[in-house]
């Protein structure tokens, strides 16, 4: 129990030195998961060349701005639509479409034509519960017009909500994982 001032000061000196001398860590540059950098919406008509709508943002949020390419569709035509999602921020790139497909009960795409675009989109796929997913769709154009086609992906939507199975987003809820607007012109 012989505790004197010097002893205590020594303890504090040791503490001080040990605190100041410990090495700091470098941050981890692990891959960013769940990132979707590329969206490709391919619209294939019964005859003729397919049209691809693309969203590309390889470095994810921030950094460089994304590049969005719309397209031109023919009037009064039916297209088969299919969506492909990828994460190209990592090498090799990841296929996110398969992930959505594996969790299709928890995901649903919504399509909305606005600003005067004369087109309708219907679902042509189903999840295990018989509800639509939207990875495959059918788009039918009307007369010549131009406007915006917005593609939205909701995570954990309420698929049994009123009108949700018909592609109405209002009662879907959930979080938005994707919301991309493509400029479309119908000629």
């Amino acid at each position: 129990m012989k505790l004197n001032h010097k002893f205590l000061l020594a303890i504090f000196a040791i503490l001080f030195i040990s605190i100041t001398s410990c090495k700091d860590k470098d941050p981890d540059d692990g891959p960013v998961e769940e990132l979707i950098t590329n969206l490709t919406y391919t619209l294939t008509p019964i005859s003729g060349d397919p049209v691809t709508l693309t969203f590309v943002d390889t470095d994810g949020d921030g950094g460089n701005d994304p590049v969005i390419a719309g397209g031109t569709l023919s009037a009064n035509t039916t297209y088969i639509g299919s969506i492909e999602l990828r994460n190209e921020s990592v090498t090799p790139g990841e296929d996110i479409t398969a992930e959505i497909f594996a969790e299709d009960e928890d995901h649903q795409f919504f399509f909305s034509a606005s600003n005067g675009l004369n087109a309708t989109v219907t679902y042509s796929d189903q999840d295990g519960d018989g509800n639509p997913v939207g990875l495959s769709s059918t788009i039918t154009t009307g007369d010549a017009s131009s406007g915006t086609l917005t593609v939205t992906l909701r995570h954990e939507p309420n698929k049994s909500g009123s009108g949700v199975a018909d592609g109405e987003i209002a009662n879907a809820g959930g979080e938005t994982d994707i919301e991309v607007a493509f400029d479309i012109s119908i000629q």
Binding site: F12, E34, I36, D57, D61, G63, D65, D106, E175, E179
Partner: protein, 769 residues
């Protein structure tokens, strides 16, 4: 364990010959701690023998024919919580007991040896009785009982105190004398402290708070555990609270003993709550679990050394409203338009899923005080903290079990301080503080970190000199200097990512002056003025990313400079004929280079749509306000309390109101205290109401949604206590929002999504032995 808050017991031994015969007389006074008013009709009772006395008009009592022995003395007074003290009586003794009859008028008093640490600063406290009665709430909600303190929330489980319009980085919280070092930058990060460890909570409504570490721009919150009573017997208490809203259980227990080798205390708290309920629906995923533990050891070494060791563990798991987890601005707009949040379930549950927070906080403190003599003390203090925070989000690909944010923060504080008289008329407080913080993102979250890894060192020194108060005047002058070095390591945002290391150095200083004038026992005036700098925090300089709750991208600016604040504060305490007590406090603060989130005229396009961008910028701001408290005791059984607080904050460069400035609020309580019966004592009933005005000083451009409307809440509280042998059982019932009012609060970040809680009843049992 008897409740024995800031009570001190002063024994004056008179020179009477030592005798074994039972002719000792114990005399004394019972006074109110807050006002020094004598408490008439107080009861003093020696538990061992049953002898007792009642105080007269001067608060004086006398117990004759006492044998020399060790006594547990029980002191009670109408409207106060019964207290128990331990004393060894060997000769005629004069004892002064201080009780908190006017607890709302109490300020923070620190005792250094025989010197009462007078300060010119203004403070108010929440005492032990309130902590145990409302112990199911968290720290910040308890502090809200103090005038001028509001709370910023993220649902009912997460809250932070807002004092005089400032919060987060700008308010320092000291847990047991150590600057609380958690992830304070987040508005949704609550202080990691169990209020049950505290004997009392204080808010120092200061201008500079020079003696405290941290980065306060004025006010400081003190969480103060009590010293262990000098009682060789084992004492303890058990508190249990059940609440109907959320079917919550809170269990707390503590035991203490002044043992032969050392004095010790153990405290444990357990909380479990399920989903809260608004008047109309359950709030899905708003449960909470908490497990806390604390250990305190005190030992005197020889005569001059007093040492103490303290360890506390805080562990919590808090659910965040499921419907508040949104992906983009469209989702937010949709949520705002709904009456009821998405994912609302129609049944109660204790489940806590994602989104949720899991936080563990360890604090280890060692303190040694060396008494050079009665008036000169040297203190050594070490505080080490480890804070682990994991935040879980709803994630795709079955990784919801992996945290989206995982941070580990290590901090060390070292302090050496000296307090003592210089000359025979002045008192000096000085110290050197060293703080080191190391904050790291734990790898493997798969999410770009919101704030980078950093390490900071800060060395500070302060000097405060005051006159030794003898007359009516107390004055105080102080200065503080600190040097902070910050090193940040992060990867660049563009591909290919490169590691960058950035260094910053901040020199900050502060000056303050204070004046206290107390011409008589009925009036007290404090005036304080201070100038102080605050270095920008890491989040203000480097945060980068999407704020889930509010759907905005927040970006730091690395070239921010320190904030420079001038604050002046004037307070007047007026006691009118010992029936009416008035406390009025006004303050004005000007902050040059005030750091805030400025919405930009820019939307950033991401795959989830366009997000508004908020940048940390600097402006000149001023904040002013008024805290007003009135207590009226028309007669013995009745008392009425009214509180009123307003705060105004303006951005002077942009000529608009500051965001997150509390609404004006007024509250009132009327209490009837029953005469103590044979069996039932300290029985009371209180009706309280509070009215919160709409915060109408911000514009549509500053927020996604304008502040909600005014609201009025009504509450009721009643309680009683009964002596069972040598122990005491307290029972109380508290009802909040009895009218089951549907309302939203401006400072709750979930106001975009859901209503506040509906009616709640809490039943409280407190057993002390």
């Amino acid at each position: 364990m008897p409740s024995k808050h800031i009570i001190f017991l002063i024994l004056f031994f008179q020179n009477i010959a030592f005798g074994q015969n039972c002719n000792i007389t114990i005399t004394g006074y019972i006074l109110d701690k807050g006002t020094n008013i004598p408490l008439e009709f107080s009861n003093v009772f020696l538990e061992n023998t049953g002898a007792g006395a009642v105080t007269n008009e001067q608060g004086f009592f006398e117990i004759k024919n006492v044998c020399p022995d060790e006594y547990h003395i029980r002191v009670s007074h109408i409207g106060c919580h019964t207290e128990e003290h331990f004393a060894k009586i060997e000769k005629d003794t004069l004892i002064k007991f201080y009780m908190s009859h006017h607890s709302e008028l109490l300020d923070e008093v620190v005792i250094h040896g025989s010197h009462e640490d007078n300060s010119t600063e203004v403070s108010q406290t929440v005492n032990r009785a309130d902590i145990t009665e409302e112990g199911n709430k968290n720290l910040s909600d308890l502090l809200e009982n103090i005038t001028g303190v509001s709370v910023i929330r993220n649902g009912s489980g997460i809250s932070k105190p807002v004092i005089h319009g400032l919060f987060g980085n700008r308010v320092t919280i000291l847990n047991n004398g150590i600057t609380q070092s958690g992830q304070q930058w987040g508005n949704d990060h609550a202080p990691e402290i169990d209020p049950f460890v505290a004997d009392h909570l204080s808010v120092v409504k200061g201008v500079g708070s020079l003696a405290y570490g941290g980065n306060s721009l004025g006010s400081v919150v003190l969480v103060e555990p009590d010293n262990i009573q000098e009682d060789p017997h084992l004492h303890g208490e058990v508190n249990y609270i059940f609440q109907t809203n959320g079917l919550g259980h809170t269990l707390n227990s503590s035991i203490e003993k002044n043992g032969k080798w050392a004095a010790w205390r153990l405290t444990g708290t357990f909380k479990k709550q399920g989903n809260s309920r608004t008047p109309n629906y359950f709030l899905t995923n708003t449960g909470k679990e908490e497990n806390n533990f604390a250990f305190q050891l005190e030992k005197k070494l020889k005569k001059e050394w007093r040492t103490s060791l303290y360890y506390s563990l805080f562990n919590t798991k808090i659910g965040i409203l499921r419907g508040s987890h949104i992906g983009n601005l469209t989702d937010l707009k949709q949520a705002i338009d709904r009456d009821e949040p998405f994912f609302t379930e129609d049944k109660f549950s204790y489940n806590i899923d994602a989104p949720r927070q899991e936080v563990t906080h360890h604090l280890l403190k060692f303190e040694a005080k060396y008494f050079l003599d009665e008036e000169k003390i040297i203190k050594f203090k070490y505080g080490g903290q480890l804070n682990n925070r994991d935040e879980f989000d709803i994630r795709r690909g079955a990784v919801s079990d992996k945290p989206a944010l995982s941070l580990s923060l290590f901090s060390h504080n070292l302090e050496t301080a000296y307090n003592g008289l210089i000359g025979d008329s002045h008192f000096l407080k000085t110290g050197i503080q060293f703080e080191m913080t190391d904050n790291n993102n734990n790898p493997g979250t798969g999410v770009s970190p919101l704030i980078p890894n950093y390490r900071s060192y800060q060395t500070s020194s302060y000097w405060i000199i005051q006159n030794d108060q003898k007359g009516n005047w107390l004055y105080e002058l102080g200065a503080r200097y600190s040097l902070k070095q910050l090193t940040v390591k992060q990867f660049t945002r563009t591909i290919p990512r490169k590691l960058e290391v950035l260094q910053h150095l901040f020199q900050n200083y502060a000056f303050s002056g204070g004046l206290k004038w107390k011409p008589n026992s009925h009036i007290k005036t404090n005036f304080n003025i201070g100038y102080m700098l605050r270095a920008p925090e890491v989040n203000e300089m480097y945060s980068f990313g999407l704020h889930q709750g509010v759907s905005g991208i927040e970006e730091g600016s690395r070239d921010l400079s320190s904030e420079k604040s001038v604050k002046a504060l004037l307070s007047v305490d007026w006691n009118v004929k010992e029936k009416l007590f008035i406390q009025a406090l006004g303050y004005y603060q000007n902050i040059q280079d005030y750091i805030f989130l400025q919405p930009q005229n820019e939307f950033r396009l991401t795959i989830r749509g366009a997000f508004p961008v908020f940048l940390y910028e600097q402006t000149n701001a001023n904040i002013s306000g008024l805290d007003f408290l009135l207590k009226y005791e028309p007669q013995r059984h009745w008392n009425i309390i009214a509180k009123y607080a307003i705060v105004r904050g303006y951005d002077l460069s942009n000529n608009i109101g500051l965001i997150n400035i509390p609404s004006d609020n007024i509250s009132s309580a009327i209490t009837y205290t029953f005469e103590d019966g044979e069996k039932w004592k300290s029985s009371f009933i209180t009706l309280n109401g509070s009215y919160v005005f709409q915060q109408n000083r911000i514009t549509q451009e500053q927020d996604f949604l304008l502040p909600p409307d005014d609201y009025f809440l009504l509450g009721l509280q009643m309680g009683t206590s009964v002596e069972v042998g040598e122990s005491n059982l307290k029972i109380s019932l508290r009802a909040e929002n009895i009218l089951n009012q549907t309302y939203r609060d401006y400072l709750n970040r979930l106001r975009y999504f859901a209503d506040e809680n509906g009616v709640n009843f809490s039943l409280n049992f407190g057993w002390s032995f």
